[in-house]
């Protein structure tokens, strides 16, 4: 199995192979042999040359972080074979951009209704959670194409709230 792993924004090439009940792993060209047990959901026990690591996976609808002991890393996993889907992502950078709810909450205001011209960083929609309001800003200069949540609507983390093109 081969993956492209992005840890805190830095890309690594990872190959994993089972070997005699252990794992043979090649990370950016370096060889590591290790023992790994999934202790419970989202908790991995890793042994490398007698050194013990507990790795915990923190996942939300929008992203993933891995904890190694007390350190927290933003992690993203790509399968380098699926080039097509990555090209699709690249195309999105130049075309339509989505505004995604980073957490569950309630839409309290739409600042930029459809057809509004917005600058990058301009507020489009305000979501309230736990008595605090979060203004979601346009990721790019463009025109608000769609607003997908009405004022007063409850939204989940990861819901697309608006599209700017």
């Amino acid at each position: 199995m081969t993956y492209e792993v992005i840890i805190d924004g830095k890309s690594h090439r990872l190959e994993l192979e089972r070997a005699d009940g252990l794992w043979q792993c090649r990370l950016d060209g370096g060889e590591i042999r290790l023992d790994a047990v999934l202790a419970r959901r989202d908790v991995l026990s890793v042994l490398i040359d007698g050194k013990a690591y507990e790795v915990k996976r923190e996942r939300t609808p929008t992203d993933m972080h891995l904890w190694v002991g007390g350190e927290r890393f933003a992690a993203e996993l790509r399968d380098p074979r699926s080039l097509r889907s990555r090209k699709g992502t690249a195309a999105d950078e130049h075309g339509a951009k989505q505004l995604v709810a980073p957490m569950p909450g309630k839409v309290v205001r739409v600042l930029a209704p459809p057809q509004t011209e917005v600058e990058a960083g301009q507020g489009v929609i305000v979501v309230e959670a736990m008595k605090m309001q979060n203004e979601l800003k346009s990721p790019k200069k463009g025109i608000v194409q769609k607003v997908l949540a009405a004022e007063g609507a409850r939204v989940n983390a990861g819901d697309v709230l608006a599209i700017v093109e």
Partner: protein, 506 residues
């Protein structure tokens, strides 16, 4: 002693009070809103009654409904916890009128302390030290100018009815005063419906230190040591400890005696906290009195060996304080981390949702007061406080070591929490040296979190683990796209990868 007590609150504090009731052999009555049916306090209580919709105004702040439940269930007393109705004098009085004991001070004491200017007038009479400034609302810009010139810049304008940092303006020089006064007044009007603003000298790098007091209904009042609460964000406390690294026995005794004087001047009964602002030279000034049990009360419990909630209930039942000031002994060091549902990558914005995994720390010197459990969905409607992790040890250093260890064991999956923030604080040399002030946390957060080298062993292990997780426990995209356990949107590379796999095999 009461046979039955209603807890007019939710979350970790409701659980905390319910536990105390059980320990004392008192039947506990919980109340809950629509979104709290599955909350922990409902399960822990002996009885639980629905009181309305999610909006607090229609449930946890609804005085007639709560009193109705108390009457129907036969509760003899109500513990308000903190927040919600805990400092509402009308509620305290409504309880008295309904023949139900309010576990806290009287409505009259609360009213006296509720307005900062009125509290100040009373306390000045009692000889309590104040930050130089006016003890009543400013009548004109001219008056503001004169007072500011007398006490010296920088000065702070504050809303009389204020709290949580609203209606506050820092003024560095005379030319900024007029516009700041207008801004503070209009913000006070918007936030509190009251334009009263007063003026105080601004203390540079202040520390927020508070003193716990406990008074019975027979005229006895004791102080139980200070808590350093300088680690704050958006004027909300994040970490508290006792003893304060600044306070020596002499300062503690002086502060304690003044706190008792404050309580006595207000005819105070039950548990309360007198807040002080201190400069780095140990000059401290009265800020306000919090007429309730504080969130951070466990640190005082650990260093005194007392149970403040037990004592609150016993005092409300008419008992005398079972000890005198001489018998109060402070031993060891305690520190509390407030675990909030907040996203460290999004400016600590609240982040509710479903908790898919919960690993809780334990072991020596660790206490955990929690309102969450694995599988629970944290509602979007209330405060983001999930739990409090409290460390206790022989001294400050041992306590910090225990907390860092426990924080490494603590894990909440499915939602974001501020657990990583405490590791940064506890490993910071200034914090370790006790160099604290209320601006500490904002300064720490401005520094990049780049303390961790990019090519550490940890990042290598993380990279390998990302692949191992993918093989051993692939994430299955959920059908509705909204479940926190699934990858719910087009941005997720997990879902992209899964789709790509699906396409190839199909």
């Amino acid at each position: 002693m009461f046979k039955k007590v209603l807890i007019a609150n939710r979350g970790e504090i409701a659980v905390r009070v319910i536990r105390a009731c059980r320990e004392l052999g008192i039947t506990s009555v919980a109340v809950y809103s629509d979104v709290d049916r599955a909350s922990l306090h409902v399960r822990k209580a002996d009885e639980a009654y629905h009181i309305g919709p999610a909006a607090a105004a229609e449930s946890y702040l609804n005085i007639p409904k709560i009193l109705d439940v108390a009457r129907r269930s036969g509760a003899e007393a109500i513990h308000p916890g903190y927040g919600f109705l805990s400092e509402n004098a009308k509620f305290a009085q409504a309880c008295v009128d309904a023949g139900i004991k309010f576990i806290g001070p009287t409505a009259a004491s609360m009213e006296m302390m509720g307005s900062k200017t009125r509290a100040r007038q009373h306390m000045e009479k009692a000889g309590v030290p104040f930050v130089p400034g006016t003890s009543r609302a400013l009548e004109s810009f001219h008056e503001a100018e004169q007072v500011a010139a007398r006490i010296g810049y920088p000065v702070m304008l504050k809303a009389a009815a204020g709290g949580g940092g609203k209606g506050m303006r820092l003024v560095g020089s005379p030319d900024e005063l007029e516009s700041a006064l207008q801004a503070a007044r209009s913000e006070a009007q918007r936030s509190f419906g009251d334009t009263e603003v007063y003026i105080e000298k601004y203390i540079v790098n202040p520390r927020h230190i508070e003193m716990q007091v406990l008074a019975d209904e027979h005229g006895n009042c004791v102080w139980l040591g200070e808590r350093e609460c300088s680690i704050q964000r958006r004027h909300q406390k994040v970490l508290e400890e006792s003893p304060s690294p600044l306070v020596d026995p002499d300062m503690r005794r002086r502060m304690g005696e003044i706190a008792v004087r404050v309580a006595k001047a207000a005819n105070y009964t039950n548990a309360g906290t007198v807040e002080f602002l201190s400069d780095q030279e140990k000059n401290f000034h009265f800020l306000e009195m919090n007429t309730r049990l504080q969130v951070e009360h466990p640190v005082t419990e650990l260093i005194t060996g007392l149970d403040l909630v037990h004592l609150q209930i016993r005092i409300a039942a008419g008992e005398k304080l079972p000890f005198s000031q001489d018998q109060v002994q402070i031993r060891g060091h305690a520190m509390e981390c407030r675990i909030y549902a907040e996203d460290p990558d999004n400016n600590y914005f609240p982040s509710p949702g479903k908790i898919t995994l919960l690993l809780a720390p334990s072991g020596p010197g660790i206490r955990r007061d929690s309102g969450m459990y694995e599988g629970w969905t944290v509602p979007i409607d209330y405060d983001p406080l999930l739990a409090k992790l409290i460390g206790y040890g022989t001294d400050r250093k041992q306590t910090m070591g225990r907390l860092i260890r426990a924080l490494n064991e603590y894990f909440v999956g499915g939602i974001k929490t501020n657990i990583s923030l405490f590791r940064r604080i506890l490993n910071d040399p200034d914090f370790q040296a006790g160099k604290l002030d209320t601006g500490y946390l904002d300064r720490l957060l401005v520094l990049s979190s780049g303390a961790i080298p990019a090519a550490s062993k940890g990042s290598e292990i993380a990279a390998i683990a990302a692949g191992l997780f993918a093989v051993l426990e692939p994430i299955v995209p959920s059908s509705n796209g909204a479940s926190p356990s699934g990858a719910g949107n087009g941005r997720s590379s997990w879902k992209r990868a899964a789709r790509a796999e699906g396409l190839r095999s199909g």
